[in-house]
């Protein structure tokens, strides 16, 4: 059997989001407008649409709240770029690529998705099924994050135009438990 990697199968996918958030993505990102080099000129906070998706995902993740997407496929949409390109191309001035973010997202999905990996190892569960579950987790976290963002904007349309708005959201989450960190990590072999 070809040594197919779980990560690659996941990264080859397109994460979906509910179309009702499209306006927000268009407002805050260069999404749907072609080249991203004009972000500054357009007063956009982010470049590609997936940047806001990453924000939304981590917001959902840190809140540890998932929100299933509408089942209706016509009410969902994906980005043009599969996950494997996220954070790769950043042509805008002063920005740099951040490809490792994908691995962290992936790790979070593995940690937070209830998958029978033993069954997967045995071949009792298909890879496709597992990747579906990972993508679902991802979409549900992001969906929750998008709702959070939309609520904020509904309260105050300029909320995220404060330069530290997103940072403040992320600063509000507990950073890490120092005690746990000081613990000797469990042996991994």
């Amino acid at each position: 059997m070809a040594a197919e990697r779980l990560y690659d199968s996941w990264a080859g996918r397109n994460a979906q989001w509910e179309i009702k958030y499209e306006d927000i993505i268009k407002t805050l990102c260069d999404y749907g407008k072609g080249e991203s080099s004009l972000r500054e000129a357009r007063g956009k906070l982010f470049g590609a649409g997936y940047e806001l998706y990453i924000m939304a995902f981590f917001i959902g993740l840190y809140f540890n709240q998932r929100k299933p997407l509408l089942a209706d496929n016509t009410k969902r949409k994906g980005f043009g770029q599969p996950i494997q390109y996220w954070g790769n191309i950043e042509s805008r001035m002063g920005r740099k690529a951040y490809p490792k973010i994908r691995e962290y997202i992936f790790a979070a999905l593995i940690a937070r998705t209830d998958i029978d990996f033993i069954a997967l190892e045995k071949g009792d569960v298909t890879l496709r099924k597992v990747v579906d579950m990972l993508i679902q987790t991802m979409e549900e976290y992001a969906n929750c994050g998008f709702k959070f963002i939309k609520d904020k904007i509904e309260d105050d349309p300029n909320y995220f135009y404060k330069e530290t708005a997103f940072l403040e959201v992320f600063l509000s989450f507990e950073a890490n438990n120092q005690e746990e960190l000081d613990e000797e990590p469990e042996s991994l072999d």
Binding site: A108, R112, F170, S187, D189
Partner: protein, 717 residues
């Protein structure tokens, strides 16, 4: 000339006819801004204007103009009554007629004088009468608008004008010119005669050549000296101006440097405190600040999975080993003998032995149905079974876990652990450090912005204080100062050299002259000519010396008079001493010196004003002396740089000076604490003995409509 009264009719804010009478001493006309002070002064200026026949519509009272119906007319009229060896009057007027709702026509300009010195009043040309009684040169020293016009020595010809006007030196000029001509003519006669003297002709020719050369040299050196003197004078004027503003220039430089530094600070701090936080969240992985817990969750999960997988794998391996052992046990022979392997002999051999009913292993026959025959059949059967089993077994030994995803995840877990993990953990501290740093820089930025604003304000204030000097001049002035001083020094050195050259040339000249004088003419008449020439030369020298001495004496007198007034005007205050310095180019400058001889290069506003006023009083006194006539001094707001105390002292002194003085001012006004309106300071006024008028805008005027403005006058005392 003593002014007695003035009537001003329909002249700008002076609506209708207003009359002021003047005291022999001080008359004060007090009013606030816009009340008509300067208009009063300008009405006088208009009256005294002998250059143009100005009947400008601009001088007509807007109020009067607005009242007229089309076709109606009225007049603007300013008339002055004064004493000048008898009563005189000057009247200037023109008519204006409304031709349209917005237009007026001015006509019938008249400037008339009336002379009442004889028994009857005689009408004369106004211009002539004015020039006869109060000529333009004297007017120049009598009327001053604001503080800045007070320095009458601010131009190079001032001293000459002054000397020409107020001293008798002018007559000397004619004598000097005359004696110079005599000397020259007599010299020409002597030289001509000597040239004709055959005995001396050669000698005269040589001397004449020498004299011509010498004259050319002297002319050149003199021209050069004049140039250098002019240069020194120009540099001095510039340096003086710079010196006056040196403090301002230095302050400007200081502010400029501060502004530059603060600007740099500002942009540096701005750069340091500006951060694209959204980009930072992604590009610098700040978004992972809270990730360590999730990462640990992941690591724990993978670690557990990995353990579970190994556990299951191990269990399976053990199970398989046990299976295998059981099988081997079942297959062993009775008696413990080891059977041949199942694959010996092979399938073909076995089939052949069965077909031939012979055991080719032991060479004995094995007929069908015999034990040996059955053994062989079994053996073949087992072979086939084993072959089949082998195929089955390879399937059975397939790994228990067909996939390696957990290993992949384990590798990822290792990859995200260790150093990478530490980086993520450190993020929280890094972010907080960075934010603190930005906060500090923002504070620095705020401070720099505030400082910059302060410096800019300071610059604006400085520019207001040094009115008339542009920012560029302040900036350039500082740089020019050094170069200018150096150039002036060079010119001075050159001038000294030229003076030496000139001395040498003069020596040569007098030597040539002596040699000329020493020539013994053969003719007795020529000898007489020679003597006449010597005498005329002597007389010429005397006149030149006398002229110089007279100028010096005039200046000494002026200086003495000036200091008398200066002392009075600065009673109980530091004053120093005014000196009127005659310069190489024939001009003069008023300068203030401390008693120890130090030049006070930049006297304060009040000091400067009193200094210039003292000079004016002195000039006026000298005029009185020389012309046997008094002249008034008229000032428009001369004391704006005075403090309240200085102001009070100033008026008390002026009040007691025996000189007609008319001062238009807003001094002595104060704000009433109760009504918040301006009113006269009665207490201060009571100390004065002079004539005081108050002028003010008639109430109920519209701040936007000029035609509602009219000046009212009241005589206060």
């Amino acid at each position: 000339m003593i002014l007695k009264s003035i009537k001003i009719k329909n002249f700008r804010s002076y609506y209708g006819e207003k009359e002021f009478t003047f005291a022999k001493g001080l008359t004060l006309i007090i009013g606030d801004n816009g009340d008509g002070k300067t208009t009063f002064f300008e009405a006088l200026e208009w009256l005294f204007d002998t250059v143009t026949d100005n009947k400008s519509e601009y001088n007509i009272s807007e109020k009067r103009k607005s009242e007229l119906n089309v076709g109606e007319s009225d007049e603007v009229n300013v008339s002055l009554v004064f004493d000048h060896e008898g009563e005189m009057e000057l009247e200037k007027k023109f008519r204006f007629e409304k031709t349209d709702s917005n237009a007026v026509l001015t006509r019938d300009y008249k400037f008339t004088g009336y002379d009442s010195t004889c028994s009857e009043r005689v009408s004369r040309d106004g211009k002539q009468l004015l020039e006869a009684c109060f000529d333009s040169v004297i007017r120049k020293y009598c009327m001053f608008k604001g503080e800045s016009e007070l320095n009458v020595f601010d131009n190079n010809t001032a001293l000459k004008t002054l000397v020409d006007t107020f001293s008798n030196i002018r007559q000397f000029e004619d004598y000097v010119t005359l004696t110079e001509k005599f000397e020259k003519d007599s010299d020409a006669v002597v030289t001509k005669e000597l040239r004709n003297d055959k005995k001396q002709a050669q000698k005269v020719k040589e001397l004449e050549e020498k004299r011509t050369r010498n004259a050319i040299d002297i002319q050149n050196v003199r021209q050069d000296m004049r140039n250098q003197e002019q240069a020194i004078s120009d540099y001095s004027t510039s340096i003086e101006k710079l010196e006056q503003n040196q403090e301002a220039c230095e302050a400007y430089q200081d502010i400029k440097k501060r502004i530059e530094k603060k600007r740099a600070d500002q942009s540096r701090f701005k750069a340091m405190s500006t951060l694209d936080y959204n980009a930072q969240l992604l590009d610098e992985y700040w978004i992972l600040r809270s990730f360590p817990n999730v990462l640990m969750e992941f690591q724990k999960k993978i670690s557990a999975l990995s353990r579970e997988k190994r556990k299951q794998d191990k269990a399976e391996t053990e199970r398989r080993a046990i299976e295998k052992g059981k099988k081997e046990l079942a297959d062993s022979l009775v008696g413990g003998a080891t059977p041949l392997p199942w694959y010996v002999p092979d399938e073909g051999t076995m089939q052949e032995m069965i077909d031939e009913e012979i055991c080719k292993v032991c060479g004995r026959p094995a007929s069908k149905g015999s034990e040996a025959y059955n053994f062989m059949v079994n053996k073949l059967h087992e072979f086939l079974l084993q072959t089949q089993k082998k195929a089955e077994k390879s399937e059975e030994e397939k790994p228990y876990f067909s996939n390696n995803f957990i290993d992949e995840l384990n590798r990822l877990s290792n990859q995200l652990g260790g150093w990478s993990q530490k980086e993520i953990v450190k993020l929280a501290t890094d972010i907080s450090d960075r934010l603190e740093l930005i906060q500090n820089r923002k504070r620095d930025l705020d401070k720099a912005t505030k400082d910059l604003q302060e410096a800019e304000d300071e610059k604006a204030r400085l520019l207001i204080q040094t009115q008339g000097l542009s920012e560029d001049m302040l900036d350039k002035g500082f740089k020019d100062f050094k170069g200018m001083s150096e150039r002036k020094n060079r010119a001075e050195i050159r001038l000294t050299e030229l003076k030496h050259d000139m001395e040498d040339l003069e020596k040569i000249k007098s030597q040539i002259d002596s040699e000329f004088d020493a020539i013994e003419p053969s003719n007795g008449t020529v000898k007489l000519y020679q003597r006449v020439h010597s005498t005329l030369k002597y007389i010429m020298g005397s006149f030149i010396n006398a002229k110089e001495r007279n100028i010096d004496e005039f200046l000494t007198m002026l200086e003495k008079e000036t200091n008398t007034y200066f002392e009075k005007l600065n009673e109980n205050d530091f004053r120093g001493e005014v000196r009127i310095i005659k310069r190489a180019d024939g001009s003069a400058r008023i300068q203030l010196y401390s008693s120890n001889g130090t030049l006070i290069s930049n006297p304060g506003g009040a000091q400067r004003t009193t200094m210039y006023m003292s000079v004016l009083f002195a000039i006026s006194n000298i005029t009185t002396l020389k012309r046997e006539q008094d002249y008034p001094l008229i000032f428009d707001a001369p004391t704006s740089s005075f403090g309240e105390f200085k102001e009070e002292v100033f008026y008390n002194i002026i009040d007691n000076i025996d000189k007609q003085c008319i001062i238009v001012t807003k001094d002595l006004l104060e704000i009433d604490k109760d009504t918040k309106e301006k009113k006269l300071n009665q207490e201060k006024l009571n100390q004065l003995t002079c004539l005081v008028y108050q002028i003010y805008k008639a109430p109920n005027y519209s701040p936007l409509d000029l035609s509602t403005i009219q000046t009212q006058i009241i005589r206060i005392k």
